[in-house]
Symmetry: C2
Subunit: 217 residues, 2 copies
């Protein structure tokens, strides 16, 4: 397990902190307000109320010892930039920071952030992916025009074998798994038949996703 | 192609609108402010300045004819709820809405939204996934504890065959693809050797991701 610091315990920071802590990592949660710190206390290793734009505080708390830090401050752009710069200067090897705009993100990189997150843009792109292929419950682009799609078995495929499915739009190159009720059949045989209620995971050309027979008229 | 309406052209709404329009779908972008409407004009089919809490306006603009609508209003919770309710009552079959909190999301569902998006939580979870396995550049959970991971070939795997890789942590069950420079080798042979700079896409048990040999000390 590794050590992480999360500065800013709003909705974004709290989820980062909680997820890492649940996976067994050491998480130091920091926020300038009492409320978020109290809430974080139940999920992280240590939660401390502090203003991280104060360099003395940062040193005192030993924040520089972590493997990676997350600057999850949203609205206060100045604080976001200052805290990022201080963490980088203190020697934290990886600093991920959330940005409000491309210029803000550019500046964060200039002061040494190693990864920039744009929450609204990321979830907007994921929603658009869902809307254009609503039966595709997840999509994962692999680059070079191929991706992995998870989809509810379209009505038109029920009773077909996987070999037959490979020949109909969107012509997946491989069915990786079938989720059937509680069971997951990884690397199913070509003769396996699709049943109503199956969830299929396919390796599939990205451009063809819109060709999956779907619920829009 | 389908018809979509996106109400609210902030960072989230704009990305949804742009992505769908780029994929060839008909996108009607709506915002109460001039600025976002102007910006959207370059990327969507139609961009109109309007206050969508006004039921008469909604009817006039024919927004009810779309296949799906997105309520991308962030801060104004009242407007988000009212616009969602109006779109549902007007007969739009799928209404996706962004929520600021779980209670807000619950209310949106009660007024008929078919999908709720929490941008901060979604990107927070994605960042946590990245931090716990930093060489994994993407991860896609398939449920039942398996997922698809894309990762930079760890130093320890260079020169090994895919068969050997399958036997070392995190014991992937299948290497789906190798991205090597400009080329993507889908379904590579078991004897294929990993080269420096390769990006591997694996079907892999989720709990083992932390075992990938990685850059943290
Ligand atoms: N200088 C600082 N030191 C420590 N914490 C800070 C500092 N400045 C802001 N924060 C904290 O960062 C957190 C997130 O900031 P933001 O203003 O984006 O709130 P939010 O909108 O609740 O966040 P989210 O969008 O993640 O829900 C807040 O809880 C705030 O108290
Ligand atoms: N009643 C309404 N009718 C139409 N548009 C609206 C209405 N209320 C708000 N909007 C628009 O919704 C957009 C997004 O709202 P929000 O207040 O979240 O702005 P934002 O913070 O810029 O958004 P984002 O977080 O997506 O970047 C704004 O451009 C706003 O003008």
């Amino acid at each position: 397990p590794h050590q992480f610091a999360v500065v800013g315990l709003g909705r974004f920071g709290m989820v980062v902190a909680r997820t890492l802590a649940e996976r067994g990592h050491d998480v130091l949660g920091l926020d300038r307000d009492e409320g978020p710190v109290q809430e974080a206390r139940e999920v992280v290793t240590h939660a401390i109320q502090a203003d991280l734009t104060d360099e003395a505080v940062l040193r005192e708390l030993g924040v520089a010892e972590v493997d990676a830090a997350v600057v999850a401050i949203g609205d206060d752009v100045e604080a976001s930039i200052f805290v990022t710069a201080l963490l980088v200067e203190a020697g934290v090897p990886h600093v991920a920071a959330r940005a409000n705009s491309h210029l803000h993100g550019h500046i964060l990189r200039r002061v040494g952030a190693t990864r920039i997150i744009y929450p609204e843009q990321e979830s907007g792109a994921a929603l658009a992916q869902h809307l254009r292929a609503p039966d595709v419950t997840d999509y994962f682009a692999l680059g070079a025009g191929i991706g992995v799609a998870r989809l509810n078995a379209p009505r038109a495929w029920i009773g077909r074998t996987l070999d037959e499915v490979r020949q109909s739009p969107p012509n997946p190159s491989l069915v990786l798994a079938i989720q059937r009720g509680e069971e997951t059949i990884a690397e199913p045989a070509p003769g396996e038949q699709v049943r109503d209620g199956d969830v299929l995971v396919l390796l599939c050309p990205d451009n063809n996703l819109d060709e999956i027979p779907c619920e829009y008229p």
